[in-house]
Subunit: 580 residues, 2 copies
């Protein structure tokens, strides 16, 4: 669920809270920008010097995905002693992973070595290529393990101390403990996964041409099954269909007609996170392409030969397959579930943080991206304190003046109120209070605590968990880096909203997600784009928007050039079919 | 030993036997050609149709390396029912494999799918991605096995019948049964090997930076050992040195000083197959670069931590290492040694063929490239028959006229005579006879059988086995294809030299290798080139010659463009350091 979405944190920073302007500029920037993201090529060397400056606080970052990398790139690394721990020494531009499975884009074109990013930032950051396998919040340190690629089983373990820990290690694929999924399915979370899928597709085609098979066996080998109708599954199905019809059909003409691509989706539609118009468009496109949409089916078992599924109408049945790609949701990594048990969150699926991305229940630990979820404070839990804070004269009722004085702080602390007003087509909380009182005269409004509670009773229905997308993780990493950059200044002058239960203000503004839309490429130069303000774009134009946005969103000029070169290469020569 | 050589079979075909002209044109073609190699993009479909034409003879080709691919590309596939069996569905441009280890060139840029080549030829060729594990010459069929990448151990076996079998499966790395080599060393024969080496280099650097190591341990991990001072070993050492000094030094400045690259060579010099000036130049260049040349050392054991070697001066000793690349020669594949046992060649290392590339001891089997070696007929074994064939009047002595009548046939049948004459600075066999007789008057020469034998006594010293290079394999594949193309015509009108022991002529000219020189890239934009006519080029100019020749020699416009793009990318952005 991480892919197929894009984000404009940079644009949003540049344009503050003017979404309309940001929207306009974004179309233009799609084609021409990139300069926004370019770095100065600082030549300063890495070194062990920062070890001798114990005065700096230690930040340890776990992970080099969207959250971790966005944090690193925006952090002023001269203020802290920064260490990064990740089993991958590169950042992956995950929205293009499905393109790697078919060779539309090469694996190396969508990765950027973390050490390049570090070097461009002046080189004061340490990177350890290792996996964190235990977080020890009571001693403020993490246990790390390097696993040698040379000799299986040979490992180096070491400890890293922290003052601040930023957890950004993402999630793993969720098998829902369905038997056989782990052993027999491909996943699509990492570069290696995409490379394996590519080899597997080619192996299926080579195997299906062998002379000793009958047609039934060939059909089995050429049955490609995708489980999950989310953006990743749909995009992979589209890429596979293009690869087969545009390239492999010419190289394997005798077996091309036997290929079948199936998408299994438990819900009633594919792309349920998108606008309904997009779901419908995608389903129609897939049906035209001959992709078998198994809507309303649930997988119950995957053996090494068959996949077993069921629906209400059909009951349980098995079909033989050649390859299954599993893209049915995200699950918790072991190190996170261990950590959650330690801090009393053992019954949760992902780490709970407050709106400042601090992990609840321990000191100095932050979490961003797919491994965490923000617990938004409920208005109804704080409603008495909100009333009290606003009621400066302790009169037991709020006047218009009193409400207006704290309005900005209430909006900032409880964004669900604004969402609720928007859903009711109201411009201000005053209208809501007035509406609930049935009173026509705004200026004269004065409410007591019961009326106040009654008016706000339903606003918490607007609290929704953020989606597990690259866009969210990147905005969170960026937000957190900015907080660390202004840590000193805000200690003296807090910038956040009013503290409701205590005196004073929060040190920082809470994190607020800005949704800039999402894409679903559907193959055959067709895409669907959902943009802010209910704007939906379908077809070729959306595909070109996709090309330009994804090119501009690359992390460096190097990868930008490589991705565009790969697209050009594909247009001219088609995709490579070598089994490597 | 296959790499680092180039060939000009096309140029040689175009210019026949005029090597001087060919040489001149070759410099120009390096920069501008490629068109010579381009195909028409035939759109004809593959199909199973040729199965229904049993009248065509079946050719089965084993292998898609230089020999097999060159055969396929030059064969008129409409004349035969052609099937190709290879575990790799692509051709690899092996001279650039060392460049893949450091990322100067990407793996996909130097491979061309066999099915693309087949399609361009009209699509009448079948390809099976499988390994031939047994050749059965008595039943004229081969046993093949497809090994699934999905489930280890799962295989499909099938039989393929042939009328003609072309064995072009190359060789494997030779470990000389030295303990630990198979388990602990990298080899550099296939694309996968190069990719593994690349990951291993990056793993060594990432591991050596870990915080829990002392300097001794870091030095061990950063000790890169190359065994074998042939073209592959030397080129890999040069590529590694460039990668480290140009790219990794900037990303890993704290450990860069601990890197050591060592080349172990048993002989007295590196690059012994090259001109002495090149060996000296390479050794001096490596010494300036700080590469540790261990000349005259022999490896006796490789454990997972240490490599043990010995020399006369030092005796046996061990050094710890981080990575060993083994490039010490070629060995026989299992299927070939099995086959040799069946046909009475069990005591040989490679298949023996005659000068027409026919495997001695069985019918309809041909072998090209590293898995075979041509047994050149000895003049001294045939000398009585040669004399008899020339002595048309049965006078017991040869006159000038009689010798001149058969001269061309003798030269064609026994190329060692021409080489011997060249080494003695003589222009013709007549001079040799005259010289050995001590007679000044050429026209009056007349020799008896004893004088004839005496004069030719030393010519067989010029018989040398061909080197195991891409150049030889490609020329053999091309030669064999041409023979098959004119099989019909030559059955009626033989084109070969006189049969010495029987009446008539050989059906075809024997295969004659034309050496067009070889390259050794030495890193830092320096190379050495050995060209025909004892021409040696050293330094930058040779490197640019190397670039242009290797670009022009790519198998398709696609790979040509990709390789040039990779070089350009490296010039602009350097090499990628991601562990993928």
């Amino acid at each position: 669920m991480r892919f197929a979405s894009f984000f404009f944190d940079r644009a949003s920073r540049a344009f503050g809270d003017r979404p309309t302007l940001a929207k306009l500029v974004f179309i233009i920037s799609g084609a021409s920008s990139g300069g926004l993201i370019a770095y100065a090529d600082a030549k300063t060397d890495l070194g062990v010097s920062s070890y001798q400056r114990p005065s700096k606080k230690k930040i340890v970052v776990l992970g080099t995905g969207w959250g971790g990398t966005s944090f690193l790139r925006n952090l002023d690394s001269s203020l802290y002693d920064v260490q990064v721990v990740s089993p991958r020494n590169y950042f992956t531009f995950t929205p293009l992973l499905p393109s790697v499975t078919s060779g539309t884009v090469e694996a190396r074109s969508i990765v950027e070595p973390i050490r390049n990013i570090i070097r461009k930032k002046g080189g004061e950051i340490k990177f350890w290529e290792a996996e964190c396998f235990k977080i020890d919040p009571s001693n403020k340190r993490v246990h790390c393990r390097y696993t040698s690629a040379k000799h299986t089983g040979e490992t180096d373990e070491f400890l890293v101390d922290y003052d601040y820990l930023v957890i950004a290690i993402g999630a793993k694929a969720n098998t829902f403990n369905i038997p056989g999924v782990e052993d027999n399915c491909h996943f699509l979370k990492e570069i290696e996964d995409a490379q394996k899928i590519r080899r597997s597709i080619m192996d299926c085609f080579e195997r299906a041409t062998l002379p000793n098979l009958n047609e039934e066996e060939r059909k089995k080998i050429l049955h490609f099954v995708i489980v999950g109708g989310g953006p990743t599954g749909v995009e992979f199905a589209a890429e596979l269909h293009d690869f087969v019809s545009e390239d492999l059909s010419k190289l394997y003409p005798s077996i091309y007609g036997l290929v079948k691509i199936a998408v299994i989706q438990g819900g009633e539609h594919i792309l349920t996170a998108f606008d309904e118009r997009i779901s419908t468009f995608a389903e129609e496109k897939f049906q035209r392409d001959g992709i078998d949409l198994k809507i309303g089916f649930r997988v119950v078992k995957v053996s090494d030969e068959d996949i077993t599924m069921m629906s209400k109408a059909t009951g349980e049945f098995s079909v033989p397959y050649g390859m299954v790609v599993w893209s049915a949701g995200i699950g918790t990594r072991l190190v996170i579930s261990d950590f959650m048990k330690q801090i009393g969150q053992g019954n949760r699926l992902v780490l709970a943080t407050d709106e400042w991305l601090r992990v609840s229940g321990c000191d100095g630990v932050y979490a961003v991206g797919d491994c965490a979820s923000i617990i938004q404070r409920k208005v109804m839990e704080d409603v008495a304190e909100i009333f009290k804070a606003a009621d400066k004269d302790n009169s037991g009722s709020l006047t218009v003046k009193e409400i207006q004085d704290v309005l900005e702080d209430i909006y900032r602390g409880y964004p669900q109120i604004k969402l609720y007003l928007k859903s009711r087509h109201m411009s201000s909380i005053l209208e809501l209070l007035e509406d609930s009182k049935g009173n026509g005269k705004k200026e004269a409004i004065e409410v007591n605590i019961e009326e106040f509670k009654k008016a706000l009773a339903d606003v918490d229905s607007q609290v929704k968990a953020l989606p597990a997308t690259a866009q969210v993780a990147a905005q969170q990493g960026n937000y957190l880096a900015k907080c660390f950059n202004k840590m000193k200044d805000t200690e003296e002058q807090s910038e956040g909203p009013l503290l409701i239960r205590e005196r004073g203000r929060h040190q920082f503004h809470p994190f607020r997600y800005k949704h800039f839309g999402q894409f679903a490429p559907l193959g055959g130069e067709q895409a669907a784009a959902e943009l802010p303000g209910d704007w939906v774009s379908l077809g070729h134009s959306a595909q070109w928007l996709w090309y330009s946005v994804y090119a501009s969103k690359q992390v460096s000029w190097r990868t930008r050039l490589l991705v565009v070169a790969d697209w050009t290469k594909r247009f001219i020569f088609g995709r490579d079919s070598s089994c490597i």
